[in-house]
């Protein structure tokens, strides 16, 4: 499964990459420095979106590079170097996230909408206010959304992060997590519904 082309890859050149790989395999220090300097900013951004702490994000990138250095001999250019590193970094970040026991996780079932025997909403959904556009209010809302995402059970938080925030395809998320594409699809939908429930008290209109 190929990752979508990202702007950072626009300058990608197959010949240059093959030459860089040859120098890396030969243990050329300058080549390693080029690799690390070129890819760290983007990989760090990837890790930051999965991990809330900056230290953890930097650790994940470092661990990803160390794994990549070890696996370099087994990499034969099946994918672009950037795609390969991106994948290793996502895995490293997810592993680190798993090792962090998060507090305040909510039970997903309690966050799902409830229906009566006739299939109607038990509690009528509220009409939401238009999210504020003023800078300060927008930042406050952004903080609220992040805290709410943190309250989701880990399995749901992870798929939401990868699918809606990192914007990976369902298939790619399935590959990363070792689950079926259908399981990812169901989890994303449930995660969105749960997040909606968590945001509801803050966004419901005055008529609710």
């Amino acid at each position: 499964v190929a990752l979508r082309t990202r702007p950072a890859d626009d300058t990608w050149n197959a010949t240059e990459e093959a030459a860089l790989l040859a120098r890396l395999r030969a243990g050329n220090d300058a080549a390693f420095e080029t690799l690390v300097r070129d890819h760290t900013p983007r990989l760090l951004a990837v890790a930051r979106r999965i991990l809330s702490s900056e230290d953890d994000a930097q650790d994940a990138v470092q661990e990803a590079f160390v794994s990549a250095f070890k696996a370099l001999d087994g990499f034969h250019g099946e994918a672009r170097l950037s795609t390969w590193l991106h994948r290793i970094t996502v895995n490293a970040a997810l592993m680190k996230q798993r090792s962090r026991t998060r507090r305040g996780e909510r039970d997903i079932e309690t966050l799902m909408p409830q229906f009566g025997p006739g299939g109607h909403h038990v509690e009528p959904p509220s009409t939401w206010l238009e999210p504020a556009s003023a800078e300060a209010e927008r930042r406050e809302l952004q903080g609220l959304v992040r805290r709410s995402i943190d309250e989701l059970p880990e399995a749901y938080r992870t798929v939401l992060m990868l699918r809606d925030i990192q914007e990976l395809e369902t298939e790619e998320v399935a590959q990363h997590l070792g689950v079926t594409a259908n399981a990812v699809k169901i989890r994303v939908h449930r995660a969105r519904q749960a997040l909606k429930t968590l945001l509801d008290p803050h966004l419901r209109g005055l008529n609710a």
């Binding site: 990202r6 702007p7 950072a8 220090d29 390693f32 420095e33 690390v36 300097r37 760290t40 900013p41 983007r42 760090l44 951004a45 930051r48 979106r49 930097q58 990138v61 470092q62 590079f65 160390v66 250095f69 070890k70 909408p113 229906f115 009566g116 025997p117 006739g118 299939g119 109607h120 909403h121 009528p124 959904p125 509220s126 009409t127 939401w128 999210p131 800078e135 927008r138 809302l141 952004q142 959304v145 992040r146 995402i149 939401l160 809606d164 925030i165 914007e167 699809k185 994303v188 939908h189 969105r192 519904q193 997040l195 909606k196 945001l199 509801d200 966004l203």
Partner: protein, 128 residues
């Protein structure tokens, strides 16, 4: 029963919370009133539960045109689902923008890596 009476108890009727007499009265009205009969058919085409269950397919554009039309018809008459769908869409957008910094470009292509991190990675390679 008139049309107003029909709408007043429709929800309870669908939830099975009406008396036998009310049920007969409602069904009698539906069979006689063209407008309520059409509405009644639509109201039963898909339940709120079913619509919610497949809402991701609707929002992400994965439904067939026929199925999509069924969802659209339900949303025309059901304000509860209309509110739910609007909130669901807003949630997706808020999630997407939760980690974007309006002061930074969307893709941090030109971002500079922290020098300490670059040094640590290169040092870790020497240690392996």
């Amino acid at each position: 029963m008139n049309c107003k009476g029909y709408y007043a108890i429709l929800r309870d009727y669908m939830e099975g919370e009406v008396s036998a007499a009310q049920r007969t009265e409602l069904e009698q009205h539906v069979s006689e009133c063209k407008a309520c009969s059409a509405f009644h058919k639509l109201a039963y085409e898909i339940s709120c539960r079913e619509l919610t269950e497949f809402l991701d397919d609707y929002v992400d554009g994965r439904l067939s045109p026929e199925r999509r039309a069924v969802f659209d018809r339900h949303l025309e008459i059901c304000t509860e689902c209309k509110d739910y769908v609007a909130g669901y869409k807003t949630t997706i957008e808020l999630g997407k923008s939760a980690y974007s910094d309006p002061d930074e470009p969307a893709e941090p292509t030109f971002m500079i890596a922290p020098e300490s991190l670059v040094r640590a990675i290169l040092a870790a390679r020497k240690k392996k």
